[in-house]
Amino acid sequence: MNEKIKYWIKKNVPSRYIELLFPAMVGVTKVPSKGATISDLFILRMEDNWQTFFELLNINQIMNPTKREIKEERVSFLFYSSAGEFLGGKEIDLSIQMKKTIDVNHIANTLDITKDCLFSIFHKTPPKWFESYNSFLAERGYTGYLNPEKGNIKSYVHGNLDSIAINSNKKTKLLGEVSLRQKEYRLQHTLDDNKEYELFFVNPSLKKQAIYFHEQRVAEELKTQLIIPSGGMGKYVKPIRELQSSSRLIIKSKLPLARPVVFKHMETSFDVFHG
């Protein structure tokens, strides 16, 4: 189908109607209003000695490399609790350079944030030339996690969902769609018994979501449930089990793509990746 027709349908027809007619056509996120900029909802870990960093890039220079001078770029970091409540924001200068490693814990501390939560990043002066392609700037960059008690270098993961937008009136809007029918997200990653896993889920939709976990083993199935408020996050923990086997996880919810950020803990290290 022509890209322009697809875009028109995505922008103008509610995804639930499309799904009703075509069950295999599922919208994951909404298209925001013209001129908006987009961000993922990134996970900030600061409890239990976790440190979170973000590799902030000079988007204007990347989009327009012919400019000889690198100009200062300003971005807003906005923070949300795990219940989806707005906690505060801070503007940051990306001084005249291509990249700056941001200590997100430090910014959060200045806002008296002490718990794990979510943050978004909005570029204040995004380039405009790609608006003619009906496209939007989206910050889905790299978050680095460090915890000296668990490993001695950082593990990085990129943003993977256009979760939230801010418009020219500085109003934010969650972009996540909700499916008509319950969807299963079957994690194609085996969970080893001798390792602990923490799986973080973000709810980018306008409604609270119930998430059902089915951890399947050879002889049993463990079932649990989590309610994640709109714009919030939740965590599923698979503890170390004194067995020499593994399990697989099925995640049921009305989120069209309930893909977790997985922290896998090993004896001398940890690894962060998208499930």
Partner: protein, 265 residues
């Protein structure tokens, strides 16, 4: 649908865990027994090897050195794993077509990982062959500056098994200074050590290949060999969503290729 890569990087042990179950319940896929094959290029032909049969719901892990020896040569073939119904000839001129239906949201993926001592790192991945006319532009924003050996890794696959090479140009994205040129090999795992370039924390290296595409990764090994770090580096299209984003990607690539051309020598 894609192949599943199995790679070896430096002194780590590469593994890939394959899963014979769909990542969702609502797309039409083939819930059937699947035969797993390994396919790799010797520079002239695709060579094949039958590995195992996976029942519905089953997962299996294969290590690189179960299929190919680890060697010190520059060409370290990327092994492609494929689920099949029908057998393959021992040698092929082109990559075989896929025989099953797979999901799209998300893509049906394998766990592609590396292990060193007690540390593991992985990503959920698949790979499709690139056209041999394709190009590559990527930035590496997450080089680590403390206790880490850093590498750029590029996986390439093309339909043809015939060996060929292309340049990978490394630039400073701010000054546009050409820092180095290295060789990429098709159908291989290309590993480029980065620490010798002494990039500073505020610098953003940009990597350009005008004659070969690939999936690029930033890979880190802790100096103590007790932790690994892996993530793929973004193409420019990742900065935009919706609309005709791949045309935007084409435009960004064109701008970078043009501006770097001035600094190429």
């Amino acid at each position: 649908m894609a192949f599943f890569p199995l790679a070896s990087i430096q002194n780590t042990k590469g593994y890939t865990s394959l899963h014979n179950f769909s990542p969702n319940q609502w797309e039409l896929t083939d819930a059937k027994k699947k035969i797993l094959w390994a396919i790799f290029s010797n520079g002239e032909k695709w060579q094949t090897k039958e590995l195992a049969t996976l029942e519905v719901g089953e997962s299996q892990t294969y290590y690189y050195d179960q299929i190919l020896p680890l060697n010190d040569s520059i060409r370290q073939p990327l092994i492609l794993l494929q689920f099949r119904k029908t057998p393959l000839s021992s040698k092929l001129e082109t990559l075989p077509a896929h025989e099953f239906s797979y999901s799209k949201l998300p893509e049906w993926r394998a766990t592609v990982g590396f292990q060193l001592n007690k540390a593991q790192t992985s990503y959920q991945g698949e790979i499709n062959p690139f056209p041999n006319k394709a190009s590559l532009l990527t930035f590496h924003p997450f080089i680590q500056y403390d206790r880490t050996h850093n590498y750029l890794v590029v996986f390439n696959v093309e339909n043809s098994p015939i060996a060929r090479e292309a340049n990978l140009e490394i630039y400073n994205s701010a000054s546009k200074e050409l820092i180095d040129k290295v060789i990429l090999h098709n159908n291989c795992v290309n590993v480029i050590a980065l620490d010798k370039y002494a990039f500073r924390p505020q610098e953003l290296p940009v990597f350009v290949s005008r004659d070969m595409a690939g999936i690029p990764f930033g890979f880190g090994i802790s100096h103590a060999n007790d932790m690994l770090s892996l993530e793929h580096t973004h193409p420019p299209a990742s900065f935009v969503v919706h609309g005709e984003r791949f045309k935007v990607q084409g435009e960004i690539k064109k701008r970078w290729f043009n501006v770097l051309k001035e600094f190429k020598t």
